[in-house]
């Protein structure tokens, strides 16, 4: 399969893989696949060649991840900022995308066999229409597979993603599906392009740069960040193991930080809810600290109503997104 290399690990790789798997393993790894152009320069080949090799390396890395039991991978394939590159390079990258997505659609049997769910995350209307159509077909075709997940960030930046999520919530309010007070961190989580995935446990950036470049800023706030100097097309199984080892060394500290953050978040939500209930009781003319039974009932009622609103909103959002893809598919049919 072109997107996931066929093959098993070598004996040595399998041996080391088993040792690593004895410790905690990331369930979701994100990659900033940086260094294709510098690699091309180093090897005195065209940039396009560098990007092509970069894709091959992605296919290989996905194979390694599957072999190690890492079932979800998110990659930064094309940033909205990359549109600033020369027309030649952007066209080349779009052609590469056309090629690879078309190939993907030809390999439907393999995708089904391996149960690969492909998602493409980004501001897709920014892309050429034919690529949007290819993407829509790939996403809809693999929508129900669940053995492993590949999320490709294409025409993506994190700030656009976060703004989009806020815009969707504002849309929900405008449609009468949500109250402004329903807006919360957890609701924003569910409005991101990545809403069907857990946060990445591990983010790897190659080529030695030590910045996030507008990639998954919200989702990686408590992820293990590993910056490796190897250029992406030269990435090896050992580089991957090294990154996973770093993840393992950070595991308990990050768990603890994440748990205390979630605890604090829950506490603040509870405080907000209590304040809301107090206000409501005062409005209805009851003493705010009077009847604790009445408080409790009102709290339950408000929480349930909010839950109902949120479910309705999320369903509407899901439909909107599916419609977008389905309309693209009927265009190309």
């Amino acid at each position: 399969m072109s997107w996931i290399r066929e093959g098993e690990l070598t004996i040595i790789e399998r041996f080391c893989g088993n040792i690593i798997k004895a410790g905690p393993m990331p369930k979701h790894v994100a990659f900033i696949m940086d260094g294709n152009r510098r690699y091309a320069q180093k090897c005195h080949v065209e940039r396009q060649q560098g990007h092509s090799q970069g894709f091959d390396k992605l296919a290989q890395t996905l194979r390694w991840c599957l072999n190690l039991g890492i079932r979800e991978v998110t990659v930064y394939a094309f940033s909205i900022e990359n549109f600033k590159r020369s027309k030649e390079e952007v066209d080349g990258l779009m052609d590469l995308a056309r090629q690879k997505f078309s190939r993907l659609l030809e390999e439907q049997e393999n995708l089904k066999k391996h149960g690969v769910c492909i998602r493409v995350l980004g501001d897709l209307p920014l892309l050429p229409l034919d690529i949007q159509e290819l993407i829509a077909q790939a996403v809809l075709a693999t929508r129900n597979y669940n053995k492993c997940f590949l999320n490709v960030c294409f025409a993506y930046t994190s700030r656009h993603e976060i703004s989009n999520a806020v815009r969707e919530m504002a849309w929900g309010v405008e449609q009468g599906l949500l109250e402004p007070s329903d807006v919360s961190e957890s609701l924003l989580d569910k409005c991101l392009y990545t809403n069907n995935s857990p946060d990445p446990d591990l983010l790897i950036r190659t080529s030695g740069e030590v910045r996030l470049s507008d990639f998954l800023l919200w989702q990686t706030s408590h992820s293990c960040l590993v910056f490796q100097s190897v250029l992406w097309p030269e990435y090896s199984f050992w580089n991957l193991c090294e990154a996973i080892l770093r993840f393992q060394m950070n595991y308990s500290a990050l768990q603890k930080a994440r748990d205390s953050y979630m605890e604090e978040r829950r506490r603040q939500q509870m405080e907000r809810d209590q304040a809301y209930v107090t206000k409501k009781l005062q409005q209805e003319g009851f003493a705010s600290h009077g009847d604790s039974q009445r408080r409790w009932t009102l709290l339950q009622k408000c929480t349930a109503m909010r839950e109902e609103r949120i479910q309705g909103f999320l369903q509407a959002l899901e439909h909107k997104r599916e419609d977008f893809f389905e309309r693209l598919c009927t265009v190309s049919a």
């Binding site: 900022e81 703004s163 309010v173 807006v183 470049s213």
Partner: protein, 191 residues
């Protein structure tokens, strides 16, 4: 510049030194952060330490600075040391984005805005935790944890993240060599 501490026990004296060194090298905006919000809760203690260090470190070397910059006629600026400091915690990160989102949604509910009004720039302007501060160019991260632990997720999209093993007993040499490392970074801005 963001000074992010991932160690459990922060040191006020060492953080104060770092802040004062930042001021001394001319960094105009400095943020201090720890994921437990300890510095924020004990803001005044940190401020006291900083004032103390400022007198000790800059007071002694004041004449040296004057001599170094005399021919550039910048003596006044150096003595004034215009730097701004913010002490931040996790509530200035995601929670601030959520607050901005709630405020915008209130305006939408009141029909004073429509959802299509919201884009990256509008949201950026609605954030309040870093009012008046530009996005950090550099984060110095102290401690063994390889994560930003919730530090200003929105603002660090292009921030260089340089890690140092610890802020405890940090030396000026270590601080300065991290700055030199930053100076060598090349940003392509997506191009």
């Amino acid at each position: 510049m963001g000074l992010v501490v991932t160690e459990e026990e922060p040191s006020y004296a060492d953080m104060a030194s770092l802040v004062v060194w930042c001021m001394a090298v001319g960094i105009s905006y400095v943020s201090v952060y720890d994921h437990n919000g300890i510095f924020k809760r004990n803001n005044s203690r940190l401020m006291d330490e900083i004032l103390k260090q400022q007198q000790e470190l800059l007071g002694l070397d004041c004449s040296k600075y004057t001599v170094e910059f005399a021919n550039q006629d910048k003596a006044d600026q150096v003595l004034n040391c215009q730097s701004a400091l913010k002490v931040l915690s996790p509530e200035d990160g995601k929670a601030d984005i959520v607050k901005a989102a709630q405020n915008f949604c209130q305006l939408v509910a009141q029909q004073r805005r429509t959802y299509t009004d919201l884009d990256v720039n509008v949201l950026d302007n609605l954030l309040s935790s870093t009012n008046g501060f530009p996005d950090p160019d550099l984060v110095l991260k102290f401690g063994p944890v390889d994560s930003t632990l919730g530090f200003l997720p929105w603002h660090i999209r292009l921030t260089e993240i340089i890690s140092l093993p610890s802020h405890l007993n940090i030396s000026y040499e270590d601080f300065f060599s991290a700055l030199r490392h930053y100076a060598a970074c090349e940003q392509r801005w997506g191009k």
